[in-house]
């Protein structure tokens, strides 16, 4: 479990990035970390991974403080950054020299994941690969490391459409009960159906942190029928099939959540939104 208490962080004293963050993330789920540009999503991932240190407050990952970078912690934590390192090594060499650090790494799984991404030639030099292909190699490596905690920063950036589908499939495949995957993304629709929980950051703080089940219990997503109480509607978006709406789910209707609509609803009607989840 990841537990964040009263976390403050800034790069520059005048400009706080994260302020008084409280968050609890339990294992066995894929969490979507959403927020506008510059709100601190990547920074939060870096703090959880131990790449940055909290100014105030604490982060605990199981019994570990990430900033201490204990070996046992690092062996169970993988941060896949938005930019992936490029080296002059071949894929084989890259895996050989880095996989030794991760005791749960599976060569077979790595090869299978690459096959899913349609990469079969492991003798290619990493720096000769396109950004998207290099990213796929790193995603496959990250998943094959079998770490308990996997943090991914914009994993779908640079991926083509079939690869995004492959990523969704692989994430589900690689996901075990004890694992926790946190994905920071702007491309909410790319990962629409695989997110179990959503965390939305807003101006240095957490606007909402909820499971999909709770979201659909509190909110209804669907096409407007015209008989809705306007007061209950948090967001409306014109669509070819009619107006898509997010409204307070007072009648206990069932619907499937839509991450992008949820995000827009959260920022269009912040107070109503917060109130709905605090009740």
């Amino acid at each position: 479990m990841i537990e964040i208490k009263n976390l403050d962080f800034h790069y520059n004293k005048k400009h706080k990035v994260l302020s008084d963050i409280d968050l609890q993330l339990t294992n066995g789920r894929i969490v979507g970390l959403l927020g506008k540009n510059g709100v601190g999503k990547s920074t939060l991932l870096h703090l959880i991974a131990g790449l940055q240190f909290p100014i105030n407050g604490s982060i605990t990952v199981d019994e570990f403080a990430p900033q201490k970078r204990n070996v046992a912690f690092l062996q169970n934590m993988f941060l896949l950054g938005e930019e992936v390192p490029s080296t002059t090594m071949t894929i084989n060499k890259f895996v050989k020299i880095n996989s030794v650090f991760y005791p749960e790494f599976s060569q077979q799984a790595f090869t299978d994941y690459l096959t899913e991404f349609e990469i079969t030639d492991l003798t290619q030099s990493m720096d000769k690969l396109s950004f998207g292909t290099r990213k796929k190699v790193h995603i496959a490596f990250a998943l094959a490391c079998n770490t308990k905690y996997l943090l991914m920063d914009e994993p779908t950036n640079g991926l083509d459409i079939p690869s995004k589908a492959s990523l969704r499939k692989l994430l589900r495949l690689a996901m075990g009960d004890g694992k926790l995957v946190i994905i920071s993304t702007h491309q909410a629709r790319d990962l629409q159906n695989i997110l179990d929980s959503i965390v939305i950051l807003d101006n240095t703080n957490v606007l909402i942190s909820a499971d999909d089940a709770l979201i659909t219990q509190k909110l209804y997503f669907g096409i407007a029928k015209g008989d809705e109480n306007e007061e209950d509607i948090l967001y409306r978006e014109a669509n070819v099939a009619g107006d898509m709406i997010v409204k307070l789910n007072k009648d206990g209707q069932t619907s499937n959540s839509d991450v992008e609509l949820l995000f827009n609803a959260a920022f269009t009607n912040k107070e109503k939104f917060k109130k709905a989840f605090s009740e």
């Binding site: 790069y11 870096h46 991974a49 131990g50 790449l51 940055q52 240190f53 900033q67 201490k68 970078r69 204990n70 070996v71 690092l74 062996q75 934590m77 993988f78 941060l79 950054g81 930019e83 992936v84 390192p85 490029s86 080296t87 002059t88 090594m89 060499k93 020299i97 880095n98 030794v100 650090f101 991760y102 720096d127």
Partner: protein, 245 residues
């Protein structure tokens, strides 16, 4: 507990991906500090010392005045090209989060910095000097003289230069850990270079005034400089351990 296997793997890995440059971001909290500019300044300084040593220890009949200048220029370009890729933020972040303890990373770092950096330095300085000598002679005398290259190489690979270089590397590591401001670090390095410059004179005075016959150039090369290097490396290790606590 230090795992020899992890240290070995780190060395093996970083021999291929040489992160092993004196860069506090390798160990430190944030990977914001880019080492390229410092490394690009460090080696030219090294080349400058080499140039001074070259002039003072190996006076040549046909002096290629421009040699050190070309050496310095070359010494800026080569390490930059070598380290450019490895100093990228994504690479450093990846290295920082590799599962190994601070001690293991320190050990790997120390071993690497005593192998890779001197190698880079010697190679880049040698090549730079050769180009400088050849071009210098070519420009001034119209002849491309290469006959005294072996003499030059002997200066670069002399125990004195290597011993001095190891001390400078360990000093650079400690300074980079003690002083956050990199400008002050450079000033610190300059000051130490100045002290090193008068060190032989100090030795001579101690030898004469205090009648200490064991204080010779060889003592400096084989005892005093390595001793100082060891102390500096130990100091760096202690400092790193403190920072990681």
């Amino acid at each position: 507990m230090v795992s020899i296997i992890r240290v070995y793997n780190l060395i093996k890995r970083d021999l291929i991906i040489p992160f092993a440059i004196p860069n506090r971001a390798f160990f430190k909290n944030s990977a914001r500090k880019v080492a390229v500019w410092r490394y690009a300044l460090w080696l030219p300084l090294f080349a400058m010392i080499m140039g001074i040593l070259y002039c003072t220890h190996s006076p040549m009949n046909e002096s290629p005045e421009l040699g050190p200048v070309y050496g310095i220029i070359f010494a800026i370009v080569l390490p930059y090209v070598i380290t450019r890729e490895h100093c990228k933020r994504s690479n450093r972040e990846f290295a920082l989060l590799l599962p190994a303890t601070a001690t293991e990373k320190c050990l790997a770092f120390a071993i690497l910095s005593l192998i890779i950096l001197p190698l880079y330095s010697i190679v880049s300085s040698c090549i730079g000097y050769y180009i400088g000598m050849i071009l210098g002679n070519g420009i001034f005398k119209g002849t491309f003289v290469v006959s005294y290259i072996h003499r030059d190489l002997a200066v670069f690979l002399s125990p004195f230069v290597i011993s001095l270089m190891l001390m400078i590397i360990s000093l650079n590591l400690l300074l980079s850990l003690l002083i956050k401001n990199e400008i002050v670090q450079m000033i610190g390095l300059f000051l130490v270079f100045a002290i090193l410059g008068i060190f032989p004179a100090v030795l001579a005075i101690l030898k004469d005034v205090f009648l200490l016959p064991f204080l010779t150039g060889k003592t400096a090369i084989y005892l005093i400089y390595p001793l100082i290097s060891t102390m500096l490396l130990l100091g760096s290790y202690v400092k790193l351990k403190e920072e990681r606590a």
